[in-house]
């Protein structure tokens, strides 16, 4: 799965600009599903099976990024964030625009101050010396540029959030030779700007239940507190996050399946943040949802780290969940 993770994280596709990553994923899943389509907001929807319980599995294919707001007279590009872009992760970093141009991020007043300015006081230097023939115009979109790094057990890349979820979904689709259910794998758009693609695709699919596959935070580096999730201890089964309470039946189903199949897992109680599952839960008359999380260090930085075994175990868990007939019952 590492070459796939690399291919996915090497692709530049910030929220709203998912054409490139959709093409990559579409090529990967060709022949694996019974039906593949793209909906109005650009969600890539792959159906496997027909007639059983209708279920939606969402992994978002967009990544956070930057958008040019102005090119000044000296050729420096001012920008706004797309999704949760933290100023502290930017200075000295490099970005690549969807149109291929690259640049480095600088700060007003140079880099000698200890004070971290807001995004409005930063700029992208694309090597231009003025506005003549400038490669960037207002509205152009960029993402972090940072090479894929294989550390053996651990893998590091930009946009691991949520290309690792996409990789898990793709490999699950590949491994899921047959299913008793009607499963919709949805590679969603615009998650980072407000779980928008998941909302509209869930409306269109109208599933009986669903879950997202996304990254979560980590509690196992110095100074981290109040989060009992570590890299390498298995996929995390979400019980709650900042925007969603998983349906207890979904949690029980996931934990029961993991234990029965001897797949390591962790219980995730996340205080902030949310995933596509929140949007799915609130669509139409409401949908029971949960989430399988891949623990990920340094989320929303250019170097997001995951444990490779966690991703492999997530695939096992997803396949084990989706293969047999699913029936949720109220206790």
């Amino acid at each position: 799965m590492k070459p796939l993770i690399r291919k996915l994280t090497d692709t530049f596709s910030p929220s709203g600009y998912e054409d490139a990553i959709r093409d990559v994923i579409r090529a990967e899943i060709k022949g694996l599903a019974d039906e593949i389509r793209v909906d109005a907001l650009g969600n890539l929807i792959a159906r496997k099976g027909k007639g059983g319980t209708r279920l939606m599995v969402a992994a978002h294919m967009d990544e956070i990024g930057l958008m040019a707001t102005h090119v000044d007279q000296k050729g420096f590009v001012r920008f706004a964030g797309i999704g949760g872009v933290y100023p502290r992760n930017l200075p000295g970093g490099r970005v690549r625009f969807v149109n291929g141009s690259c640049g480095v991020i600088g700060l007003d007043g140079g880099t000698f101050s200890n004070d971290l300015p807001p995004l409005e006081k930063m700029f992208i230097d694309v090597g231009a010396s003025g506005i003549a023939n400038h490669p960037i115009k207002t509205g152009d979109v960029a993402a972090f540029e940072r090479p894929f790094l294989d550390l053996g057990d651990r893998v590091v890349a930009k946009s691991m959030d949520d290309r690792i979820g996409c990789a898990v979904a793709i490999e699950s689709l590949r491994a899921l030779k047959s299913t008793s259910n009607e499963v919709y794998f949805v590679f969603t758009t615009q998650e980072e700007v407000g779980t928008r693609g998941a909302q509209t695709s869930a409306y269109g699919i109208d599933p009986a239940l669903g879950f997202s596959i996304d990254v979560t935070g980590w509690g196992d580096t110095p100074g981290q507190r109040d989060f009992d999730v570590a890299l390498g201890k298995g996929p995390a089964i979400k019980i709650r996050d900042g925007g969603m309470l998983s349906d207890p039946r979904i949690v029980d189903w996931m934990i029961g399946t993991a234990e029965k199949n001897r797949i390591p897992y962790q219980r995730e109680v996340l205080l902030g943040g949310t995933t596509d599952a929140r949007a799915m839960q609130l669509v139409r008359g409401g949908i029971p949802v949960g989430c399988i999380s891949i623990p990920c260090r340094y989320v929303h930085s250019p170097s997001e780290m995951i444990d490779y075994a966690d991703a492999q175990n997530a695939v096992k868990l997803v396949v084990a969940l989706l293969r047999p007939p699913i029936k949720l019952q109220f206790i």
Partner: protein, 352 residues
Amino acid sequence: MPSRTPALGAAQFRLLEKLCNAVGVSGAEAEVRRVVLDEIKSYVDELEVDALGNLLATKTGGGAKRLRVMLDAHMDEVGFILVAEDGEGLYRFKIVGGIDPRNLAGKQVVVGKERKPGVIGAKPIHHTTPDERKKPLAEDALRIDLGPESKIKAGERGTFAPNFQRVGPSLMSKSLDNRLGVATLIELLKFSYSNLDLCAAFTVQEEIGLRGAKVGAQHFKPDLAIVIDSTPANDLPMQFESENISYNTRLGLGPAIYVSNASTMDDPRLVGFMRDVAEKAGIPYQIRQPGGGGTNAGGIQRTGAGVPVVSVSIPHRYTHSALSVARIEDWKNTLALLHTAVQQITPALLRR
């Protein structure tokens, strides 16, 4: 193809004046809706006022393969709602929508269906201390003074007093946001576009959360939507020759095409289409700086199984104040861009 192109003549300015001088604070848009209804009823095939008060009109095109295209312009404006009387015709109030409280003191207002005149009063300079004058007046420190016999009740709405003027190349009025958009959409409805079903939504309650557009889009279930709004131009020159890099839009540079804001990623296909249309037709345009804010596109995009959207706005200075300023040329070019673009919309535009 329509036989004529849109022009701005005496009739259009009269209509804009009527729209701007109408009072339609979010949730109470009837006065604006009546003006629109009278103006468009002879041009459209279907007309409906929905449960929330949106005015929804359809012009059906011809041909088998045609898109349903929603054009949205919100009718409501920011204003006030009266909360309670303190006696003597002095009323406490809450702002409806977003108004900087610093823009309130000393402004003339009208309140209620009968448009009772009033003023948002403040202590005069004679009686304030230098320290007091340094601090902005908060909303809850201000009162609307309607006089002792106003007979106005709590819950009535008001806004800045009507004040439309045409001044040389400029338009000056309260509520240019978004009566300019409403006037533009009305003009478009006077043409026939055979390539599509034109679903015109004059929507309510935009200023308090894009509410009308969300249900309007559910009604139309469009294939794509174009939102016509009005956006701030923060384009005053900077002091000491430093470059203004956060102007949002600039007056006189043409319609502002959106790429993203806090509520929407505008569909890149539609953004590119708008740019191409403008460039080929020689219509000036500008890209509205990506950033915060929002338009009805944010509500429409997420209805049902999703709708590709783009916003096109007419820039104006001093948004959500007693008097905004726009340029006639920008209005003309916005109308020209939308008219030209709408004619060229085909299903191929949405191909992936």
